[in-house]
Amino acid sequence: MEMTAFQIHPEDNVATALTPLHPGDVMLRGDAKTPSVRAVEEIPLGHKIALRGITQGEKIIKYGVPIGCATGDIPAGSWVHLHVMKSLYDERSSHLDVNTGAPKDTRYE
């Protein structure tokens, strides 16, 4: 199956996976400047792929606006989520489980 991702704004540094992504070429739809990007790891459906290298502290741009900032260097083609970025407002969300989104700061004792 062809792998595709959707770029909603031409200035964005991430795109959203429309299919599950594996290492390999991903076709870009929407307002993309280039026809494809090379995925370097597994990225789940609906999650974001870095369209270029993003350095620590740099803003993550989607819809042409900042949706958070990088907490580490993000190589092009890799998965952009809670493990490498955080909200500029919601401090709690960067501590959630990266796969399930479940809270890790509430004790179940």
């Binding site: 959707f6 909603i8 959203t16 996976a17 429309l18 739809r29 929407g30 789940p44 459906l45 609906g46 999650h47 974001k48 993550i60 989607k62 819809y63 606006v65 900042p66 949706i67 958070g68 952009v80 989520h81 809670l82 970025m85 955080k86 909200s87 500029l88 407002y89 919601d90 401090e91 709690r92 969300s93 959630l96 796969n99 399930t100 989104g101 479940a102 809270p103």
Partner: protein
């Protein structure tokens, strides 16, 4: 798009309705069964139930009931009370009469119980349905139309397709002289600059600033933003990302100002609806408890038609104004064909452009405005929700402190 017209129902206040509903309103939970029996036994798609559980009244809830009575899609009102509640069915009926709408009210205790009350109500509804056949008709177009939009059960497609096509349609609606309303200020975190930059004037800018700050202050204080584990698992990484996916449904036109629940926009254009409580009751929660409340809030502001954008799928409809359900998820559309009205997914497949899709949505809106039932309407979904809440009628700027 501005070309299409349809035959509407003329109201005394000059407004135009796309439906001619008989609204059976109960004024306390104790009267709900009788009111509901009147509706179901009338077996008519234009007879609908709404009401307030009470018994203690609340200005916000009463305003909401009154907004439904005055709504242009409503042609007649029957208010059904038990007989000892705070909310007064007689006064609600009087408001409908002033609007030139056939109206009646009753107390179940005075009528002598369930069977007699249902009988009397049913008789009145049947007579009224005949009367409503003579409601004057007038031509109506997009410039007369008020459309509201909210999203619920969102997934990654909502912010890429469903909400985007609504935004593009809203631009066209506003350009055609119509009115568009969007809500969910708690899902606009990080976007204050963007929203205020779109304010139509200084007053609108002040209203948006105040409303945004009120919502953000609440979220900060309780350390809770309108984003959940399911959202993160689905690929959203931050509240800002979710917010932009939601705000994009407002399109790109200037924002005329902020309106409150039950207060229709004073003039056409794009408006932000603030449905959050005003500060001193803020501890009671700020986000809508369910999608139906959001739809009711939009309808209370005079929306003739409401959009519910849902990636994961939803089955709700709404009393008074038809609900058009939009999804950007092809799988959801295929899985729930009798519930979902509009498929926005072709734009993600590259099968059509956003402008073409917005044109198709405009056609769907004109069809529903012309009388074609929406999917939920045809199935008989007529959900409503009238809660207790504290809210001012205008943007509640804080009073200046004496120095």
């Amino acid at each position: 798009m501005s070309e299409r017209t349809w035959r509407a129902f003329a109201r005394r206040d000059g407004k135009k309705g796309i439906r001619n509903r008989v609204l059976v309103l109960y004024t306390v939970k104790c009267a709900e069964f009788v009111a509901q029996q009147i509706v179901s036994r009338s077996c008519h798609p234009d007879v609908e139930l709404a009401g307030f559980d009470g018994c203690t009244d609340n200005q916000y809830a009463v305003n909401l009931l009154i907004s439904l009575i005055r709504h242009p899609n409503v042609g007649a009102v029957l208010a059904v009370g038990l007989g000892c509640e705070y909310v007064q069915p007689e006064w609600l009926s009087a408001i409908a009469e002033k609007e030139g709408k056939p109206a009646a009210w009753m107390f179940i205790q005075q009528e002598g119980g369930t069977a007699k009350s249902v009988e009397k109500g049913l008789h009145w509804v049947q007579k009224t349905l005949e009367k409503l056949r003579d409601t004057p008709r007038v031509p109506m177009g997009f410039s007369d139309l008020v459309v509201g939009a909210e999203c619920g059960g969102s997934d990654f497609t909502s912010g890429l397709a469903g909400n985007v096509v609504v935004g593009r349609f809203f631009d066209r609606l506003v350009d055609a002289g119509g009115t568009a309303v969007f809500e969910e200020i708690v899902e606009a975190v990080g976007l204050d600059g963007l929203l205020i930059g779109r304010a139509a004037g200084e007053q609108a800018a002040r209203e948006i600033r105040f409303t945004y700050d009120k919502a953000l202050e609440y979220c900060r204080r309780v350390r809770q933003y309108s984003v959940s584990p399911g959202n993160f698992a689905g690929g959203l990484s931050t509240i800002e990302e979710k917010s932009m996916g939601a705000v994009i449904k407002s399109g790109s036109r200037p924002i005329q100002g902020v309106i409150k629940v039950s207060c229709p926009p004073p003039r056409p254009g794009l408006w932000l609806l603030d449905s959050t409580p005003d500060p001193y009751w803020m501890q009671f929660g700020i986000t809508n408890p369910n999608d139906t409340e959001g739809l009711m809030d939009l309808i209370s502001c005079g929306a003739h038609i409401v959009f519910l954008v849902t990636g994961r799928g939803s089955v709700v409809g709404s009393a008074v104004s038809p609900c058009i359900k939009i999804t950007g998820n092809a799988e959801t559309f295929a899985k729930m064909p009798e519930d979902m009205d509009f498929d926005a997914s072709p734009v993600l497949r590259g099968a059509c452009g956003m402008d073409e899709l917005a044109g198709r949505l405009a056609d769907a809106v004109a069809d529903v405005a012309s009388g074609t039932p929406s999917k939920s309407e045809a199935l008989g979904h007529r959900e409503f929700f009238v809660p207790y809440k504290y809210q001012e009628k205008q943007v509640a700027f804080p009073k200046a402190c004496p120095q």
